[in-house]
Amino acid sequence: MIRAVGLTKRYGDKLAVDHADFAVEAGTVTGFLGPNGAGKSTTMRMILGLDRPTGGGVTVDGKPYRNLPVPLREVGALLDAKAVHGGRTAYNHLACLAKSNGIPLRRVDEVIGLVGLEQVAKKRSQGFSLGMGQRLGIAAALLGDPGTLLFDEPVNGLDPEGILWVRNLMKSLAAQGRTVFVSSHLMSEMALTADRVIVIGRGRIKADTTMREFIAQNATTHVRVRSPHIGKLRELMVAQGWRTEAAPDDEGAVEVFEVSSEAVGDLAGEHGLWLHELAVVQPSLEEAFMSMTADSVEYHAGALEGSAVGGGEAQR
């Protein structure tokens, strides 16, 4: 159980985290979502006692991180897979960590087996691929068999098999009653893994709810209809006062909002129009996330306008 109360971090005159209140419950995978620069990593570093909050506080099982008697036995964290001394072997890296918390060295062999790094355990980690580094970081997080786990972008650099493995690992850790807190920008991945979501934007907590509720509240279901007479059908739908949009991927299809699929099918039938497709489309976490954070993205990507390229041309 992680609990933040009024958690605030200020860098100069920029508020990285602004009075964040949230709780991460045991027994669930909680996704931590937010655009780049929203304050995800800063929040995670404050949970782990690496950064000092400017105001408020955060506890793990009721204690500030620095007061945990045996930190690795209570919290395991994967922050940055590359944050290891590359000159040390994977085994030695884990053994150094184990010793600092009095964890027996046989546990090092266990976690190496668990993440599938047996073959490279005696190799120096500077030669590791991103995926192998990620596995080493996960091994370190599991070392103390902790009740709380924090993962910052855990599937970065993993192959599809590795991604599936991490997803199942996180779910099984939560099923064992542990607290699992995962940040990611991969929405499709989070939708498959997380039971709850905490959304942060510009340092503020925007949502702290279940995945299902979050999607339901922030995006709408729509009906997708495809027909050889789509132009005629669309006119009829507009005449009914329904909101329609051309499907982005198919000229012969239209998306209809706030109407049931039955109503759309009946309307087509009444006018003798053929339908080739009629489907209710559930919104994705990505759509819900985009609609919620549209105003709080720190770094907007500008559209690549022709004028910018043209300007360069003109200078020649």
């Binding site: 570093r45 040390r88 009095g102 266990e110 599938g116 099984s172």
Partner: protein, 282 residues
């Protein structure tokens, strides 16, 4: 590389982990000792300290044996501590660099965040590193000093001007050299904690010992003389020189006074380093 099944052996009971006692200073020491031993830079720095100092000592004594014998015959003040001369060059640099690297490498790789997640009681980490470095460099430094003494004496003996351990201050100079190098390593560690940057800490520290330590002589009057005496390299190295009587009190501290001044400087720097380490974000 195959994915292991997604199960977690261990307690896995869902009731959270079992907590046994508290990770104490002994755990921190054994972890930090393993960290120092398991990177190659430690090994190579110590080899450089040992072999480099010995080689330089031998070469300089070979080159200087003739003039040393002539000076001695002419009754000029002797400089018998030439038999430890290599320590003053390679030894000082290697010991200082080793100290800097013990912490700056963690900052440059980002490993410091892993270290502090495992052990958030930061001052314990700093103290453990300081103790381990001091002991390790003292042991290697002492072996090196004896080796230099032996090797440096070979060309001097050939000219019948060998230096015995019974020479005034010789034993003190040998043990003092080990102590001074040990102090320099901790000095480097403190600078590493303050600056968190390998190149910066090495440049500033070596400049302080080798360049600024001499430049302050140019400041006129008693201020310049006092500054010259208290500069860490000048104060600390008094304990490494042979001879007890021919010292000018205006220019240098007595051996143990100088070393005490140096030790106080190192401890103060280490305390400032510890305060900043506790306060700063990692």
């Amino acid at each position: 590389m195959t994915a292991a099944p997604a199960t977690v052996p261990g307690s896995g009971s869902g009731s959270g982990p079992r907590i046994e006692g508290r990770a104490g200073f002994g755990n921190v020491i054994s972890s930090e000792w393993m960290k120092i031993r398991t990177v190659r830079s430690t090994f190579w720095t110590l080899v450089t300290l040992f072999a480099g100092s010995a080689l330089i000592t031998l070469l300089i004594c070979l080159a200087a044996a003739n003039s040393y014998a002539k000076d001695l015959a002419a009754g000029k003040p002797d400089s018998a501590d030439i038999v430890l001369v290599g320590l003053a060059f390679v030894g000082q640099i290697a010991a200082y660099v080793l100290g800097v690297m013990a912490i700056s490498a963690e900052y440059s790789t980002g490993g410091i965040r892993t270290t502090l997640t495992a052990m958030p009681r930061r001052t314990e980490i700093l103290v453990a590193k300081a103790i381990l470095l001091a002991v390790m460099v003292f042991v290697v430094g002492l072996a090196t000093a004896f080796l230099c003494f032996y090797l440096g004496n070979i060309p001097l003996r050939a000219k019948d001007v060998g230096v015995d351990l019974s020479y005034p201050g010789a034993t003190r100079g040998i043990f003092g050299s080990a102590l001074y190098l040990s102090g320099l390593a901790v000095f480097g560690l403190a600078m590493g904690f303050l600056l968190r940057h390998t190149a910066g800490a090495i440049t500033i520290g070596l400049a302080l010992i080798f360049i600024i330590g001499n430049l302050v002589q140019l400041i006129p009057g008693s201020v310049g003389r006092w500054l010259y005496k208290v500069m860490p390299g000048n104060a600390g190295s008094q304990v490494t020189s042979f001879g007890e009587s021919n010292r000018h009190p205006d220019k240098a501290f007595a051996p143990w006074t100088g070393f005490t001044v140096f030790a106080i400087e190192v401890v103060v720097l280490l305390i400032v380093g510890a305060l900043l380490f506790e306060k700063r974000d990692a």
